[in-house]
């Protein structure tokens, strides 16, 4: 998207969404707030269902990311893009800790990210009763 309208001519909706999803992660990782802003709809909504938190609007969402504590780093494990929807499977590192994240994106008519839903699954011990079926790693 950063190259402007001309270079995206001929790309279909799914390809534009895939690029928006990849750029989103890459610009967050670079702390490139100007380029990140250019990717977000003005009325973007960010939700974390696990904590039932919602952030509304580009300024607040940018502030949230700018203020987010720790030396966090994001890597893409998988991008799945489909029309104006995408799912991102992320590898997140903060210092020596790592966590996976699952992110659900929606892209507007204008190709801007309009909704982001983040899940941050934590490790847990498996319940008993299925040891005969599983291996652990």
């Amino acid at each position: 998207m950063s190259e402007g309208g001309g270079s995206v001519r001929g790309m279909d909706e799914t390809e534009l969404t895939r690029r928006a999803a990849s750029d989103y992660v890459e610009r967050l990782e670079r702390r490139d707030w100007a380029e990140l802003t250019a990717l977000l709809a003005e009325d973007v909504v960010y939700e974390m269902p696990q904590t039932r938190e919602r952030i509304s609007g580009r300024p607040a969402f940018l502030r949230f990311n700018i203020e987010y504590p720790g030396d966090w780093h994001l890597g893409i494990r998988r991008v799945v893009a489909d029309g104006r929807l995408a799912a991102l499977w992320l590898d997140v590192r903060v210092g020596t800790e790592r966590q996976d994240a699952c992110v659900w994106l929606e892209v507007s008519d204008a190709g801007l990210i309009s909704r982001v839903v983040d899940y941050w699954p934590e490790p847990y011990e498996p319940p008993p009763g299925r040891e005969h079926l599983v291996e652990r790693w």
Copy 2:
């Protein structure tokens, strides 16, 4: 996929994957183990990264689902399909409890589900320091 090769002629890879993803949930929900079997590669691998558990092969994966305790019900919140990859955002209910799940699927050459990675994110309390940016629901 259950309709056989003829009826899927003309569907592209993404549409076949989308159907496999939807059918996967729908057949699990119906406990239709025969139809679920028909959807799975013989060497399907199922992983839960949060517990570092892996189940290998169709018989063990079927057994895991058949034996899974509780009156569980699955609803699809979103399917994102992309070539041979799909992501499923599920609404899971067990009795009066509900939880979201994020599922990453891979589909083989033959249109069968060859890898399933499940995340089961749990609710948690948000850390302090971002109350000025968020609303709770």
